[in-house]
Amino acid sequence: MAFELNGNTYETDEEGYLVNLGDWSEDVAGFLAQQEKIDLTQNHWEVVNFLREYYNDYQIAPAVRVLTKAIGKKLGADKGNSKYLYELFPYGPAKQACKIAGLPKPTGCI
């Protein structure tokens, strides 16, 4: 599967996750978010950027606890919980935010 954006073609898997990590850009993120019916605010970007940084270091998305803690530090303790993350990404922070961040989908019993 694939989608077109600004004259470029981007390959995705069956569920719309980017196949090539290197294809990601802010515009691509915007497009993917739109598909998910999400308007990216500054707070969404904090999450997306953290996911990308963490992935860069560890080759995996952060565990939910690691993510909530990091977001709590950046956006305030009242936002450092999964409830808030679900408000931002209703289909689940791990899966939906990873998609927008251009990372592969986490698998397993999650």
């Binding site: 069956e14 569920e15 719309g16 998910e36 560890y58 080759q59 995996i60 952060p62 565990a63 939910v64 606890r65 690691v66 803690k69 999964s82 679900y86 289909y91 689940g92 791990a94 899966k95 939906q96 998609k99 986490p106 698998t107 397993g108 019993c109 999650i110």
Partner: protein
């Protein structure tokens, strides 16, 4: 996510057998495993040219290897006792989801090629060729069975549809028709060490973060040790315990139990996964090689005991198959069960008075317990009859003041699957998962209405993830599901014993 349009079933006052809706789930299929995923497991990358011949040969091989499979295919008398016992039938109304109908998908092919009458008078016995259409039906409906074995409890002959499903998936894999979710995950276990694909350094970082959290919350130095040589106990747990909510709360619970009991323990980066999807795809070799990591890690670390965390099918594999697959365990301490469920560890400590549990810490919770299918119908605990039902409930009762069981026909050996077991916990099957959860949701609603239950405890990572996802479809809070050791974690008093 792809928008799937379907209606969530209405919760009824009492369960009724649904009106038949032929073909209601004929459209529901999981994504196929792509060639690289298949090949990594030694399966053909795509449907092989002589698939029919190969499939029948494979079926013959399995019939020879597993006597039970032949008996199951021969003995069904179509009495119908199983027909309304499957949660997927109850939730979808699709007659092909009646266990007997699911079996018949294989039975008709078996009769055609392996019985005298089927070979010469196929119409007489409902025997059918393995055509492309039949194969497509296999892929559809053998991926709508969570291998939960509930039907087998009600069958007068004990016919186990789960085993037939496993055989069908094994045959399909062998001709290049694998399912993406399970096979991708098995590939990750071999490559990275766990279902999630969580590499060692990430695991280390995650555990260090959790130690900090526990310290902040309790002031105690509870450790989550990794790869510690010479520890007494090695804990093997589902990788979801490291990654997800509410799973991680139970991981913290196990750590507190070991800490408070003064037992030295360790996790292993080599065996950083208890789950074993080899079971789900019915592949003995996969089941064995995935299990082997546990033996290797235990020997390498020189531990004396192996404990298994809250994971239903892992416990079935450990309890029922490890000895044959990766035994003997003569290098372990024989004074303890080999292997030992984390609930057995905790229960034993509670009975010996080694833990101080403050039930009032859970007073905001009114608790029920969901028996997970693989624990309930594929294992036991505590070296006593029905221990797998008694022990988790005894732990809960020691940790909470308010506990209410759900309706008797929905618990113990009659428990309903969560709807996401057996390799079906994937977004491409969300409609099936939501509908298959209906019988459990109805039983839950009853105790919610009658007793105000607000927490459903369980000891399976799949159940936790599945309920977290489907509870909101039924207007329940996703936080209602959690682990037994999550309750232990809240109740346990750390520090010197008073």
């Amino acid at each position: 996510m792809a928008v799937v349009e379907f209606e969530t079933p209405r919760l009824k006052e009492y369960p009724v057998i649904p009106i038949l809706q032929a073909g209601a789930m004929a459209h529901s299929q999981p994504f196929a495993a792509a060639a690289p995923i298949q090949k990594a497991l030694g399966f053909p990358g795509e449907l092989v040219e002589d698939w029919q011949e190969q499939a029948i040969a494979k079926m013959g091989e399995l019939l020879g290897k597993y006597r039970s499979l032949k008996v199951y295919l021969d003995t069904c008398v179509h009495c119908g006792a199983c027909s309304d016992k499957c949660h997927y039938f109850l939730g979808t109304g699709d007659p092909k989801n009646m266990p007997v109908a699911r079996q018949d998908l294989m039975r008709k092919v078996y009769r055609r090629y392996f019985t005298f009458t089927g070979k010469y008078f196929p119409k007489l016995v409902g025997a059918e060729d393995l055509t492309r259409e039949v194969l497509a039906e296999w892929y559809t409906y053998f991926n709508q069975c969570s291998e939960c074995r509930r039907c087998s409890v009600f069958c007068p002959y004990g016919i186990d549809t789960a085993e037939i499903t496993m055989a069908a998936r094994e045959i399909m894999d062998s001709i290049g028709m694998g399912q993406k979710y399970s096979n991708e995950i098995i590939g990750k276990v071999h490559k990275i060490g766990n279902n999630l694909g969580l590499p060692g350094p990430a695991l280390e970082d995650t555990l260090a973060g959790l130690e900090e959290d526990i310290k902040d919350a309790t002031g105690a130095d509870v450790k989550l040790p990794l790869d510690v040589q010479g520890a007494e106990v090695m804990l093997v747990t589902p990788s979801a315990d490291f990654f997800s909510e509410p799973h991680v709360e139970s991981l913290i619970g196990y750590a507190k139990v070991f800490h408070q009991a003064g037992i030295s323990w360790t996790l292993s980066s080599h065996a950083s996964e208890a789950g074993n999807f080899g079971l789900f795809i019915g592949n003995y070799e996969q089941m064995r090689s995935i299990s082997m990591r546990v033996r290797e890690a235990a020997l390498e670390l020189g531990v004396r005991r192996i404990a298994v965390g809250e994971c239903g099918h892992a416990w079935r594999v450990a309890y029922s198959f490890w000895n044959t697959l990766i035994g003997p365990f003569d290098f372990l301490d024989q004074n303890y069960p080999v292997p030992q469920h984390i609930c057995e560890v905790t229960y034993d400590l509670i009975r010996r008075g080694a833990l101080t549990l403050d039930k009032a810490a859970n007073d905001h919770r009114i608790v029920t317990f969901h028996d997970s299918c693989n624990v309930a119908r594929g294992s036991s605990m505590g070296n006593m009859p029905r221990g797998q039902f008694i022990i988790p409930r005894e732990i809960i009762r020691a940790c909470v003041n308010n506990f209410h069981d759900m309706a008797p026909e929905s618990i113990y050996e009659s428990t309903f699957c969560c709807g996401g077991g057996g390799g079906l916990l994937t977004d491409d099957l969300i409609e099936l998962r939501v509908k298959g959860a209906l019988p459990r949701m109805e039983a839950l609603k009853q105790v919610v209405d009658e007793h105000g239950v607000n927490f459903m405890a369980t000891i399976c990572a799949i159940c936790k993830a599945q309920f977290g996802k489907v509870l909101p479809y039924y207007k329940f809070d996703m936080d209602m599901v959690g682990g037994v050791h999550q309750l232990v974690s809240s109740a346990i008093r750390l520090g010197a014993k008073q």
